[in-house]
């Protein structure tokens, strides 16, 4: 037998369920532009029983769950992709600054200065007594030295910037790690108590995103809802449940007093080599590998010039017939940075091969420009020019890597948007659907009300 009260109860269930669904749709619409938001979907479930023998049929409805639409596997991929992307973006940024330092394409760089210097010797060779031409030899030598000094200084500044960025990134990373541990706690306690923690999960996802931009990580989600974060190589733990381990920037006197990355509670173990991705990875790589290799090339070039010019100059004779001294001086530990002209008096320039003032030593020094240098294996200019091309290649590689990684990442974002993102069209259709169901349930309530009135009028 049907029971009029039960019909009313079913109508009430329908009203409440559809209202909840409208509420969920409202949340989705409200968060249409929220980054990291995963849309929710109300799951309707029929309740009650149908017993054909007794003829009692009472099937109601309820919202069994508000599901967060989310692909765990895709999220993991995106986290890894973020690390790669932000590493190459940072590399590209630093390399474009390196390129700006070596703006040889427009002229006025070291390539031109090397030419000017040897040309000054060439001019002196035909007029070895000229004070003006002797002055030119010294001033072009000083200009060349200064350019080498400046280039190294600019590269070292980039290294310092990278170093400071490392310290800053570690500070940011530490606070993110703490956040994840706290969110873990919130999620576990909320979900243990039977409620949902969708918003907190979204936030934690965003933080995870930020972390992966700083450093490459592995992470797993435990059944209780908390996530554990590890460093990829060697699996050092960064976050474990409600705990996080802080990293620290520690000065390393053996490496130009740059920072090493260590755990605060284990400062002896240096983690630099374990960090291969994210901005930290890029900064470490540029600071310790790429930029030092550029400085080394500058040192090679400067040393080759200084060695050959000094040797010939010391073998020659100056304007007073005295044996020559070394033309350039530098500190062997960092030759390009400390290169300078050793001579201030133009009469000390050893332009001649004899005690007379011939210009033949100047001619020999000019010839160094086209000499195949035994240390470099090519001419000095050739070596330097191919070094500039190397910087260009590195920058191109980084640019292309950014384009490649961005394409992959965008595809993943697209996928994520399709799955978890909010489509206003879909939400509007749902809204209409739930609204109609709500209206129908309301109509049913009114009908039941009329039925009860009819019943009551019978008794009167």
């Amino acid at each position: 037998m049907a029971d009029i009260g039960k019909v009313l109860y079913t109508a009430q269930e329908a009203l409440l369920s559809n209202l909840t669904a409208i509420n969920a749709t409202g949340s989705n619409i409200a968060n249409v532009n929220t980054p990291g938001y995963s849309r929710v979907r109300p799951l309707f479930e029929s309740v009650g029983s149908k017993d054909p023998q007794s003829g009692r049929e009472q099937i109601g409805v309820r919202i069994s769950n508000i599901e967060r639409i989310y692909d765990k596997f895709l999220e993991t991929q995106m986290i890894a992709q973020q690390s790669a992307l932000s590493k190459f973006t940072t590399r590209e940024d630093i390399l474009s600054r390196v390129e700006a330092i070596f703006n040889e394409n427009t002229g006025g760089g070291i390539n031109d200065a090397i030419g000017d210097f040897f040309n000054a010797w060439g001019n002196l060779s035909v007029d070895p007594l000229s004070k003006a031409k002797r002055d030119m030899v010294i001033s072009t030598g000083e200009n060349l030295s200064r350019l080498f000094n400046l280039r190294v200084e600019s590269l070292e500044n980039l290294q310092l910037n990278a170093d400071e960025s490392i310290a800053n990134e570690i500070a940011t990373l530490n606070s993110y790690l703490k956040d994840v541990a706290r969110y873990n706690e919130l999620i576990v306690s909320a979900e243990n108590a039977g409620s949902t923690a969708h918003a907190v999960r979204d936030h934690r996802g965003l933080i995870l995103n930020e972390i992966s931009q700083i450093i490459n990580i592995n992470y797993v989600e435990k059944p209780d809802g908390s996530i554990y974060i590890y460093m990829p190589d060697g699996g050092k733990t960064l976050v474990e449940g409600f705990n996080s381990w802080e990293l620290m920037a520690q000065v390393n006197p053996a490496n130009h007093s740059f920072y090493d990355v260590v755990f605060k509670n284990d400062p002896t173990q240096i983690l630099n080599d374990r960090i291969g991705g994210g901005r930290l990875g890029a900064y470490l790589e540029m600071r310790d590998k790429d930029i030092p290799s550029y400085i080394e090339k500058l040192d090679d070039t400067a040393l080759a010039i200084m060695d050959r010019v000094n040797t010939l100059h010391a073998d020659g004779f100056d304007q007073d017939g005295t044996g020559g001294v070394e033309f350039f001086s530098s500190n062997p530990a960092n030759p390009a940075a400390t290169m300078s002209v050793n001579i201030t008096d133009t009469r000390r320039i050893a332009a001649s091969v004899s005690e007379h003032a011939d210009g033949n030593n100047a001619t020999a020094i000019t010839g160094l420009k086209t000499e195949i240098n035994t240390v470099l294996g090519t001419t000095i200019d050739g070596y330097f020019n191919s070094f500039i091309a190397k910087i260009g290649r590195d920058a191109v590689d980084a640019k292309q890597a950014v384009i490649r990684e961005t394409t992959i990442y965008n595809q993943q974002v697209e996928q994520r948007e399709q799955l978890s993102g909010v489509s206003l069209d879909e939400e509007m259709m749902n809204l209409i659907k739930y609204q109609m169901a709500y209206g129908a349930a309301g109509k049913m309530t009114a009908t039941v009300n009329e039925l009860i009135d009819t019943l009551l009028n019978l008794i009167r």
Partner: protein
């Protein structure tokens, strides 16, 4: 996806704008590392050629100063020979005294010519550029002395091509031979010694041809340098064209590409506008 596409097009658009503005395909090493290497190497080569040409000019200036001094000295010697022939034949005590004075003036003039400087350098002194090469030594025996040497001065006029450009006093004037021969002629004239005057004719003639030889040699060096320079100029033109080919933008193709990008950008903008118009809101 739409945004990404739009950003891509915008990046390529600004890339083309830079190329159009600078009219260069390569504005930084990463635009084309291989071409950058070529451009820098070529620029190095061009720079060297310019230096060689400037060396050639300097050497040619020195040589032309040499030539004119040599030609004047040659004229003086030939005049001295004429005087000697005339005095040895028909000279009287009076004419010889006058001629002696003329020869004396010619000696001074020759010495000035032989001590010619190019800038600060004595051009006939060999490598002793800062030493005055010809002086008179009171003696005894009184004579002119050459203090220079026979060293060659060389200048780079090509890769590994050191060119010896100087004419030394030894080569051109047999050291102080010319001056001393003129001195002997003057002394013979002063002492009315016709035989001695006659003897100097035979001394001066070979010296005259020696100076002529030096003058010819200087002239040959000048034209040899000129030849080298014209070779350099040809190479320079080729290298300049090569750099231009690699570095300079082809305006026609750039402008076409630029216009195509512009159309693509307009299309992506209007597509974005269309897409944002399409929403269910318009229908409910």
């Amino acid at each position: 996806m739409l945004t990404t596409n739009m950003l891509n097009i915008q990046r390529e658009y600004s890339d083309l704008m830079e190329k159009l503005a600078t009219q260069k395909m390569i504005n930084r090493p990463s635009d084309d590392p291989v071409a950058t290497n070529t451009i820098l190497d070529t620029r190095t080569a061009l720079n060297a050629i310019n230096q060689y040409n400037s060396n050639i000019t300097d050497a040619q200036i020195a040589l032309s100063i040499n030539t004119s001094a040599l030609s004047s000295v040659k004229k003086i010697i030939s005049e001295a020979v004429t005087i000697a022939i005339s005095e040895a034949g028909t000279g009287s005590a009076e004419t010889m005294a006058i001629s002696a004075q003329r020869v004396s003036a010619m000696i001074d003039e020759s010495m000035t010519l032989m001590n010619t400087k190019n800038g600060d350098s004595y051009i006939f002194a060999g490598s002793a550029l800062d030493t005055i090469p010809y002086i008179y030594n009171d003696g005894p025996p009184a004579a002119y002395v050459y203090r220079g040497n026979n060293d060659q001065l060389s200048v780079l006029v090509g890769n590994g091509n050191a060119f010896a450009y100087n004419i030394t006093g030894g080569e051109a004037f047999g050291g102080a031979d010319v001056l001393n021969a003129l001195l002997a002629l003057r002394n013979a004239l002063e002492t009315n010694d016709a035989d001695a005057v006659n003897t100097q004719i035979d001394v001066l003639r070979p010296l005259e041809s020696r100076v002529l030889q030096a003058e010819t040699s200087a002239g040959a060096k000048i034209s040899s340098l000129e030849l080298t320079r014209s070779n350099h100029d040809k190479l320079k033109l080729e290298l300049t064209n090569m750099v231009a080919d690699v570095e300079n933008a082809q305006m026609a193709s750039l402008i076409t590409a630029f216009q195509m990008k512009q159309i693509a950008m307009q299309a992506s903008y209007s597509m974005a506008a269309k897409i944002s118009e399409m929403t269910i809101m318009s229908y409910i």
